[in-house]
């Protein structure tokens, strides 16, 4: 039996197709179609989207679902449900699981779990180097055959420039993008927050911008040398934005992402050592925050990615320098990004949706983030003005390490569809 879905009367915003108008979205057997005939419409599952925005399902190319190995923090079942509740229909998981994803066997295990447990499209990445140790190359070809969409040693930036050069060069043989967490480890030993006035006051070891900037510069140089597509993860420094802007102007094949927290918060948010604001790279200053927003506006930064990094409440409930880095954001990313970019009048709704859908998908060559005819019927339906209060206790995620907890934000996801099937509805 053919399945039909009819999403009616919403404000359809599909930036990839330059569509922004009140209208309908039709899905037939999981794929977007132009229209349904009267008989099909009668049979279809209806969703009345009047007064709501109908957008492509959101895409996040940077999440940690912790499976295998750290499933007390998150797993593919809980992570994908958290994503669905946030309007996401496609995510790209980082390979720093336990064991790390540096071989096809581990990847197969992850793929099996995705097959069984995921309610959205969960994509995988493979390590650049074995054990993420930065010493020898991982079997990129075998990993690609098993389905990865990018290679990265996220969290453990390769320090040796020869290894980095060869691993990005080799990745291009398999036409894979490289995603890099840009951090010079020698400049950040024991560092737990941005180096500046706030770290001096709190007596905490600082992580200077230079540690990111040096690696961003290196990656630009290596991209120019090898032609590799290098994507800079969670850019946090204003200077890195400038480096990327210049590199792009020269036609070098590099991209960058910004996270919702880096465009909203600063190091001052740490206040009295609040570990919910401890992440890597760290929150920086207003100057950086505003430069990131400028970067998103002029295309220097390509997309928004959450770096959803779950940690259990016990792990974050300790002395600041002992707490793990990272926060979760999938379930409120749309709202917080709308606050920072749309309600603040920095960008239009369509531009924000582009940053959260097809722009990221393009970096990893995903067929996602559009409502083009023939693609999967992945849809996010939301009210951009609806206020709600973030309650981490109610999250689908297993973790609660969310710095937005308790904040009232505008922008509420009402329903999420994957392949025409409703997988989330706000109750």
């Amino acid at each position: 039996m053919t399945q039909y879905t009819w999403i009616k009367n919403g404000l359809v915003i599909d930036p990839a197709n330059d569509r922004e108008a009140i209208g309908d979205v039709f899905i037939q057997d999981g794929l977007i179609v132009d229209s349904l005939n009267d008989a099909e419409k009668k049979e279809a599952t209806h969703f009345d989207a009047k007064g709501l925005v109908v957008a492509p399902g959101l895409v996040d190319i940077h999440v940690h679902f912790r499976e295998p190995g750290q499933t007390h923090k998150e797993d593919i079942a809980s992570g994908s449900r958290a994503a669905a509740a946030g309007g996401y229909t496609s995510v790209v998981c980082m390979p720093n699981t336990s064991p790390v994803c540096d071989n096809a066997g581990t990847l197969e295990r992850i793929n099996n779990s995705i097959e069984k447990e995921a309610v959205i499209n969960v994509y995988t990445t493979g390590c650049l180097t074995m054990g993420m140790k930065g010493e020898e190359l991982a079997p990129t070809g075998q990993l690609k055959q098993a389905g990865i969409v990018a290679v990265t040693d996220d969290g453990l930036c390769i320090q040796n420039n020869e290894i980095m050069r060869r691993s990005v060069e080799y990745a291009t043989l398999h036409n894979l993008p490289i995603m890099d967490h840009c951090q010079d480890g020698s400049l950040t030993e024991n560092a737990v927050m941005h180096e500046g006035e706030v770290s001096l006051k709190l007596g905490l070891k600082g992580w200077p911008r230079a540690a990111e900037d040096i690696v961003v510069a290196r990656n630009i140089i290596l991209s120019e040398l090898t032609g590799a597509r290098i994507h800079m993860q969670h850019v946090s420094s204003y200077h890195s934005v400038e480096l990327l802007r210049n590199a792009k102007a020269k036609g070098i094949n590099v991209t960058g992402e910004a996270s919702p927290h880096h465009i909203e918060f600063t190091d001052a948010c740490i206040g009295d050592y609040n570990t919910l604001f401890k992440m890597n790279p760290p929150l920086r200053t207003d100057k950086d925050r505003l430069a990131l927003i400028e970067g998103l506006k002029d295309g220097t930064l390509d997309c928004i990615a959450t770096d959803h990094a779950p940690h259990s409440p016990t792990e974050k409930d300790c002395e600041f320098d002992k707490a793990p880095f990272g926060i979760i954001g999938l379930e409120n990313a749309l709202a917080s990004t709308l606050e920072t970019l749309y309600h603040s009048k920095e960008l239009s709704l369509k531009e924000v949706i582009a940053l959260m859908t097809h722009k990221g998908a393009e970096i990893c060559d995903l067929t996602a983030g559009t409502l083009s005819v023939g693609v999967a019927g992945d849809v996010c339906i939301f009210d951009p003005d609806q206020k709600w209060t973030v309650d981490a206790e109610a999250f689908k995620s297993k973790s609660r390490n969310c710095p937005w907890n308790g904040r009232t934000l505008r922008g509420q996801v009402k329903a999420t569809f994957v392949g025409g099937k409703e997988i989330f509805r706000l109750r």
């Binding site: 500046g196 006035e197 001096l200 006051k201 709190l202 007596g203 905490l204 009295d272 050592y273 016990t314 409930d317 300790c318 002395e319 600041f320 320098d321 002992k322």
Partner: protein
């Protein structure tokens, strides 16, 4: 005739939340204990029957002993626990350790810890008075209070006096707490030392940063020296102890730059011949041992006040 002190803060985590009046209250109670002790009273009953836990998770001689003696003079039972001997070395969290100490009946917890912010964290975890005896590079409020108490004994009012802090400021909790305390008392604070240990960004705290030793010492009313912790964090921050001494050590020649009767201070432990010339450490300008002595009285005052705040009692002193 008596005077009554009221105190509302059961924790002493850092200097920042204290008002000038509160700092003066601490000083006046410390003075009461100092005068009492010097006139022959060896025991006071303020904390009689109370249990104070000295949780020292980092090495310390002076501070730990001063707290122990302060407790004993106040008639409290004081038990010291050190890092290696505690369950923290078995993987117990600080929160669990603290809750166990409270369950055992602690009335006050004094803690030294290597993590900045740990004392603040502890105070949010348990409802027992917490006294910070040093947390990472963040704060060492009792040291700052005893330093400024000693300074006011020598200089009278420190308002508008030039106080220079010289040495490893970057990693120093003593410096940070003294900056806050001196500024509240109206002093003009200059920080000096190599730029790698005294970054300009400290000026956001309201101090002057100088990398020129002569400028920093010129006309200073007091100088606080800090130990160079070259064995710890500072190994990449300057070349060697010898180089430090050559460029920033306080010797007799440089001592001429400060005022003739300027006060020389050091929180200890001192490295003679490194940050300070041995003769200067023993000179009449030096109050180094006076600081140690006052450390007991200031800590008696703080223990008494924090406990009074917790039990909501007033302190009445003979006029």
């Amino acid at each position: 005739m008596s005077r009554v002190l009221t105190w509302e803060k059961q924790n002493l985590i850092s200097i920042e939340p204290l008002s000038l009046a509160e700092i003066q209250t601490i000083f006046s109670l410390a003075r009461y204990y100092k005068e009492g002790t010097e006139s022959g009273q060896l025991k006071f009953d303020a904390l009689e029957g109370r249990t104070v836990i000295n949780l020292f998770l980092e090495p310390s001689t002076r501070t730990r002993l001063a707290f122990e003696i302060a407790c004993k003079r106040l008639s409290a039972d004081c038990i010291s626990v050190s890092g290696g001997a505690s369950s923290l070395s078995k993987g117990e969290s600080l929160k669990d350790t603290a809750q166990n100490i409270v369950a055992l009946g602690a009335d006050v917890i004094i803690m030294r810890h290597s993590s900045s912010g740990s004392a603040d964290y502890l105070s949010k975890t348990v409802d027992t008075p917490i006294i910070n005896a040093g947390d990472g590079s963040h704060a060492h409020p009792t040291q700052a209070l005893l330093d400024t108490f000693t300074l006011t004994e020598r200089l009278g009012d420190v308002n508008n006096k030039k106080v220079t802090i010289l040495g490893d400021i970057l990693f120093s909790r003593v410096a940070r707490s003294n900056i806050h305390c001196l500024l509240k008392l109206g002093a003009k604070v200059t920080l000096a030392g190599p730029n790698t240990l005294v970054p300009k960004e400290f000026e956001a705290m309201g101090v002057t940063v100088s990398h020129n030793l002569k400028d920093a010492l010129e006309d200073a009313d007091a100088i606080m020296l800090l130990r160079i912790q070259h064995e710890r964090q500072t190994s990449t921050h300057f070349p060697s102890i010898g180089e430090y001494t050559t460029s920033f050590g306080l010797n007799e020649r440089r001592a001429h730059w400060i005022k003739p009767n300027a006060v020389i201070m050091h929180p200890g432990p001192i490295n003679r011949g490194v940050e300070i010339d041995s003769k200067l450490a023993d000179s009449s300008n030096s109050v180094i041992l006076e600081q140690v002595k006052n450390g007991v009285f200031v800590r008696m005052a703080i223990l008494h006040l924090c406990h009074a705040a917790h039990t909501k009692t007033e302190i009445s002193l003979p006029k």
